[in-house]
C-alpha cells in the first residue's frame, strides 16, 4: 500500500526556530533532546577513537600520559552524564511514552522544556571545562585525587550536578504522567512494558540522583573551602566518597539499562507477533531491579579498603541483581519461541542486545564474586564488562528503538538494506573491540593507562580495529537516518503492525497526538485477538 504524509503534523504545525525553542510539545522536546544527546554521543565517540588510536602502540602516538588521562576521563564523563543517562528516557521516553498511554502530553510540559534547558546548561559547563584545563580524574571523581587535581574539576562537577537536575525533572514528570494521564481503560497491567521500564527508571532518577548532587556538592566544598570530609588529615574519610558516589552510580547503571530493556520488550513482542511471555514478571522485575540495585554499591569497593564485613555483604547481595535480569532474558526468549519472527532491522538490534547483554550480565556476576574481583578489579575485564552492558545493552536498545520509532517520529522509512549492513557492522565491530579485552583483563592489563607491556600489543591493535569498524558503522547510520528524514518513503501509521497506542496516530503524529481522549480497546500485546494493519482506524474516544 502507498502511504502519504499527512498534511498537518507536529513538525509543520508551527515553524521557525522560536517555535522549537519555546515548544511545550513532548514530541518536539524529544527531538531537541535527540539533537543534543546524539551530538554528545558523537563527541564521546571521538574521544573513544582517540583512546583506541593511542593504544595501537605502547609508545606515545598522539598523547602523553597526562593527555591520555584527560581523554578517558572526558570519554567517560560525556558518555555517562551527557549521553547514556538522558538518552532513552529523554529522547524516546519523551516522544513515545505519552503516545503509548493515550495522553496529549506529559503532565508538566513546562517542566519538560525546563529540563532540556537545564541539560543544555550542564552541557555548556562541560564544554567550558573542556577548554579550561580539561579533567583527568576519571568519571568517578575519586578522592583524594579529585580534591587535588589541577584540572577543571569544579566546572565538570557543576556540569554533572546541573545535569542531575535535568534527570530528576524528567523522572518526576514521567512518574506523574504515568499515574495521572493514562487513557481510560488502561490499567497498570495494560501498560506497554516500555512504560513500566520508564516508570521504574523514573523512580531511581528521583531517589538516587539527589545523592549524586550531595556528593558532588561535598566534593566542591572540599576543594573550595577544605571542609575535610574526605580528608583523613582532618578526620575525614576518602572511602566515604566512594560510598556516596556508588550509592548513586550503581542504581544509575539501572537508569541506563532499564529503559533499554523496555525497548527490547516492545521490539521482541512486535517482531515475534506474539503476546509477550510473562508480562507481569517482566514488569515487576523492573521494579525488582530498581530496588535491589540500591543494595549492592559496595561491589565497586572491594579493594578500596572497605571492611571485610561490608565486602562480604555486598558480594552476597550482588548475586541477587542477576535474578531480575535473568527473568527478563528468559521471558524474551520464551516470547520468541514459536512466534512468527520477522528479522527487520529493529529486531536485529534486539537480538544483538540479547546476546551482548547476557555476556555483560554474566561477567557482572563474575566480578561480583569477591575473591575473583580482587584480581580483576581495575583491569580490562571490568572495562569489557561494562561496555558489554552499556554498549552491548543500552546502545543496542537505543538504536533498536530509534529504528523502530523513526517512521513514527518522521513519518518516513530508512533504507532497510543499509540499516541491516550497519547492524552487522556494529555487532561484529563491537565484539572485535571488546571481547579481547576480557582476555587482556584476566592476563593483568590494568585500565586507565596510556601504555602497556609489549605482550598486549596484538590484542590492543585488534581491539582498535574493531573500534574503527564501529565508528564507520555509526557514521553510516547517521547518514541513512538523516537522509530518511527528508527523502525516505512515507511509512504509514503502523509499518510494523504493532498494537501499542502510538501506532494508532498518523506518522508523524498531529500536534495534540489524538483527536479527543482515546479509550483503550485492546491490550498492548493482544496479537491473539487483534490483527493490526498499517492504516488509520478510528479509535473510540470520550
Amino acid at each position: 500500500m502507498e502511504h502519504t504524509i499527512p498534511e498537518k503534523h507536529y513538525l509543520n504545525e508551527a515553524t521557525g526556530w522560536k517555535s522549537w525553542l519555546m515548544t511545550l510539545d513532548h514530541k518536539r522536546i524529544g527531538i531537541l533532546y535527540m539533537i543534543m544527546v546524539m551530538f554528545s554521543f558523537f563527541l564521546g565517540g571521538v574521544f573513544a577513537l582517540l583512546i583506541r588510536w593511542e593504544l595501537l602502540s605502547p609508545d606515545k602516538i598522539l598523547m602523553g600520559p597526562e593527555m591520555y588521562n584527560q581523554a578517558f576521563s572526558l570519554h567517560g564523563i560525556i558518555m555517562i552524564f551527557l549521553f547514556i543517562i538522558p538518552s532513552i528516557p529523554a529522547i524516546l521516553g519523551n516522544f513515545v511514552m505519552p503516545l503509548m498511554i493515550g495522553a496529549k502530553d506529559v503532565a508538566f510540559p513546562r517542566l519538560n522544556l525546563a529540563s532540556w534547558y537545564i541539560y543544555v546548561i550542564g552541557f555548556c559547563f562541560a564544554v567550558y571545562a573542556l577548554f579550561t584545563g580539561g579533567i583527568d580524574t576519571g568519571w568517578t571523581f575519586y578522592t583524594p585525587y579529585s580534591s587535588e587535581s589541577t584540572t577543571a574539576v569544579i566546572p565538570i562537577l557543576t556540569a554533572a550536578f546541573v545535569l542531575g537536575f535535568s534527570s530528576i525533572f524528567t523522572g518526576l514528570n514521567f512518574i506523574v504522567t504515568i499515574h495521572r494521564l493514562r487513557a481510560p481503560g488502561m490499567t497498570w497491567f495494560q501498560l506497554p512494558l516500555f512504560v513500566w521500564a520508564i516508570y521504574a527508571t523514573a523512580l531511581i532518577q528521583v531517589l538516587a540522583t539527589p545523592v549524586l548532587g550531595i556528593t558532588l556538592a561535598l566534593l566542591m566544598l572540599e576543594r573550595v573551602v577544605g571542609i575535610g570530609i574526605f580528608d583523613p588529615a582532618m578526620g575525614g574519610d576518602p572511602v566515604l566518597f566512594q560510598h556516596f558516589f556508588w550509592f548513586y552510580s550503581h542504581p544509575a547503571v539501572y537508569i541506563m539499562i532499564l529503559p533499554g530493556m523496555g525497548i527490547i520488550s516492545e521490539l521482541i513482542a512486535t517482531f515475534s507477533h506474539r503476546r509477550i511471555f510473562g508480562y507481569k514478571f517482566i514488569a515487576f522485575s523492573s521494579l525488582g531491579i530498581a530496588f535491589t540495585g540500591f543494595l549492592v554499591w559496595g561491589h565497586h569497593m572491594f579493594v578500596s579498603g572497605q571492611s571485610d564485613l561490608a565486602a562480604v555483604i555486598f558480594s552476597f547481595l550482588t548475586f541477587f541483581v542477576g535474578i531480575p535480569s535473568g527473568i527478563k532474558i528468559l521471558n524474551w526468549i520464551a516470547t520468541m519461541y514459536k512466534g512468527s519472527i520477522s528479522l527487520d532491522t529493529p529486531m536485529l538490534w534486539a537480538l544483538s542486545f540479547l546476546i551482548l547483554f547476557s555476556i555483560g550480565g554474566f561477567t557482572g556476576i563474575v566480578l561480583g564474586t569477591l575473591s575473583i574481583d580482587v584480581h580483576l578489579h581495575d583491569t580490562y575485564f571490568v572495562v569489557s564488562h561494562f561496555h558489554y552492558v552499556m554498549v552491548g545493552g543500552t546502545v543496542m536498545a537505543i538504536f533498536g528503538g530509534l529504528h523502530y520509532w523513526w517512521p513514527k517520529i518522521w513519518g518516513r522509512m530508512y533504507n532497510e538494506t543499509l540499516a541491516r549492513i550497519a547492524v552487522v557492522m556494529i555487532f561484529v565491530g563491537f565484539n572485535i573491540t571488546f571481547f579481547v579485552q576480557f582476555i587482556m583483563g584476566t592476563q593483568g592489563m590494568p585500565r586507565r593507562y596510556a601504555t602497556y607491556l609489549p605482550q598486549f600489543q596484538g590484542m590492543h591493535g585488534f581491539s582498535s580495529i574493531g573500534a574503527l569498524i564501529m565508528g564507520v558503522g555509526f557514521l553510516l547510520i547517521a547518514i541513512y537516518l538523516i537522509y530518511a528524514i527528508f527523502k525516505g518513503k512515507p511509512a504509514g501509521p503502523n509499518p510494523w503492525r504493532a498494537l501499542t497506542m502510538e501506532w494508532e496516530t498518523p506518522s508523524p503524529p498531529t500536534a495534540g497526538n489524538f483527536e479527543g481522549q482515546p479509550i483503550l480497546e485492546h491490550g498492548p500485546y493482544d496479537y491473539d485477538k487483534v490483527i493490526p494493519e498499517n492504516a488509520l482506524k478510528p479509535y473510540k474516544t470520550i
Binding site: G138, T140, Y142, P144, Y145, L207, V211, D237, V239, L240, H243, F247, F294, L295, W297, G298, M301, V303, S304, G305, Q306, S307, D308, L309, A310, I313, F314, H375, H377, D378, T379, Q443, G444, M445, P446, R447, R448, Y449, L453, P454, Q455
Partner: protein, 142 residues
C-alpha cells in the same frame, strides 16, 4: 477526586492544640533527659524522642495521615533509602579495623612455573607481570 477531598480536609482546632502541646511536652522531656546520663542509651533516647516529634509533625501538621496513602509510601520510602545508605555504610566504617588472624601453611611445595629459557628481562617475566598489576590496581583510581 480523592485528592481534592484530601486537600479540603480541615482538622479541628483542638487536635492541633493537642498535638502542639504534645510537642511541647516532648521538648521538655528532651531537655530534662539531657541533664541525666544513660551512658550509651543517651543517643538512642534523644533520637527516639526526635523521631516521635517528627512523626507527629508529618502526620498532623503536614496532613500525611489524611492524604492519599501514596504520599505516605513515598515519604517512608525516602526514609528507608536513607536508612539503607547509612546502615550499609556503617557496615564498612564501624568494622574497618577488623583484622583476622591468618595462619601460613606451605602450599604446593612441588609446584613449578614454566617460562621461555631465554627471556630473563623483568618485562616479559610472567610472575613479575602479575605482581606489577596487583600494585597498579590498588592505586590506579587515585
Amino acid at each position: 477526586m480523592k485528592d481534592d477531598a484530601a486537600q479540603r480536609h480541615i482538622l479541628p482546632l483542638n487536635l492541633y492544640l493537642a498535638v502542639g502541646s504534645g510537642l511541647l511536652v516532648l521538648t521538655v522531656i528532651t531537655v530534662v533527659v539531657a541533664q541525666m546520663d544513660f551512658g550509651p542509651m543517651n543517643l538512642l533516647i534523644a533520637m527516639g524522642i526526635a523521631v516521635i516529634k517528627a512523626t507527629l509533625v508529618a502526620m498532623f501538621f503536614m496532613h500525611l495521615k489524611y492524604d492519599n496513602k501514596i504520599y505516605m509510601l513515598v515519604f517512608s520510602g525516602s526514609l528507608l533509602f536513607l536508612g539503607v545508605f547509612i546502615i550499609f555504610t556503617m557496615f564498612d566504617t564501624l568494622r574497618r579495623g577488623d583484622i583476622y588472624e591468618e595462619i601460613a601453611e606451605p602450599y604446593l611445595k612441588e609446584a613449578v612455573i614454566y617460562r621461555k629459557a631465554e627471556t630473563t628481562t623483568a618485562l616479559s617475566h610472567p610472575a613479575a607481570d602479575t605482581s606489577n598489576t596487583a600494585s597498579d590496581t590498588v592505586t590506579s583510581d587515585h
